[in-house]
Amino acid sequence: MSANREIEARLRETAGKLLAEKKVGLFIGYEKASLPFRTTPLFLSRAEEAERLAWNPFCTANLSVYLPRLFQAPADARAAKAAPPPPTIGVALKGCDARSVVALLQERQVRRENLVLVGIACQGLVDRRKAEKALGTHEALGAGEDGRGNIRAVVEDGTEVTLRREEVLAEACLECRSPAPSLYDFLLGTPVEAKGAARRRKDGLESQPLEARWARFQEAVSGCIRCNACRQVCPMCYCKTCLFDQTRPRWIGAGTDISDVSIYHLVRALHLAGRCIGCGACERACPMGIDVRLLERKLSAEVEKLYGYRPGEAAEAVPVLSCFAMNDPQDFLTEP
């Protein structure tokens, strides 16, 4: 039995037990989807349905995105008083998802005492697009994993194709510095060594001249259709009202004017500076295949360099932009 099958069995068992013993009222996990290389989020409230839970290299969604809204209290004080007590929620988390739960705890968006975290020692996930590209003209009808972690797909003429694991792993997984959850109540599977620490996506932005960087940025975002998918899947984008949705005032045009699109991506990068935990959900959600983390990756590196801070590492840590030091570097200032 491969490691992932074993994790899947234990996940079902753990979730079923939590629900049966009423430790949680809701369990969030993954379910097999109707299309190959995909899974869909599953919200379980009955123990007997735990068999629907799945765990495989296609469980790409970051489930922590659902948590803040489940804990959201009504804004009105009287309504908040009358509201039912916050739910207890069990959730399946990979290393990156656990980091985002830590980041949400740092920003007080979720209640630790109401969460049961089922951590999964992740071995890396498959990027659906890479897999589809690797199949070329073939169309996959079904997909699974073989014993060595390579991906096997059944294509339309009934033959089986094996895709090498390294070829189809998601970019975020290739760069992952901590595939095992840092915060959990249960840990399923054995943590694997982080291989991504050394690997950094080489975009060579720094060495390029200004105009080339601008051209690169414009080229990247020009395909954007402003569907907001990158915002919706981001666990750190939990604002009740998003400035991009506001119409009074309308801060930024909602259309695909290149200026508006550029500002959307600039603002998104800024809002995630020092907060993004690098799960790559936005990249995988983008229907246009935009490198939506292009600027944010740079900002994260800069936050680490300037302030020695990495988000999602310690629940007690104060978010980097919510605090300051008297001796913060300020050599960027204009002096007469």
């Binding site: 200004l210 690169r216 200026s259 600027l295 300037l306 913060d328 960027f332 200032l333 204009t334």
Partner: protein, 152 residues
Amino acid sequence: MPSEEIASRTRSEAWEPRILAFLCNWCSYAGADLAGVSRIQYPPNVRIVRVPCSGRINPLFLLRALQNGADGVLVSGCHPGDCHYISGNLAARRKFALFKVLMRDAGIEPERVQFTWVSASEGGRFAAIVQKVVEAVQKLGPNRKLVKSHER
């Protein structure tokens, strides 16, 4: 001023940079006032927006200024330790530092958006800063990136 007008003026032949300055109420705005009452000469290219504190600056303000045709933006607050709200400028400093990095990585001239501290007694410093910012933006020429075209 309607943005169309800003846009058309930017294109006029004798081009002069148009700088939007966000000054905090307690130090920099008073510093600019002091430059005025002391009759210190500085280029007339700045339009001043008074904000309660440099901590009030939302990076979106700066991007919107560029989008609406400003050639440069200047943000100035109290010196660290002198903030009327104790730490508004210190909290802002991290945002500003990252904004500069973002401009650089996106390929927008970082000189278009400049940050500084000016106290209420530094009229001379304010004039010198404006001089420097205007010269820097003059060298860069009109802002074309991020500007939203209104002709359509």
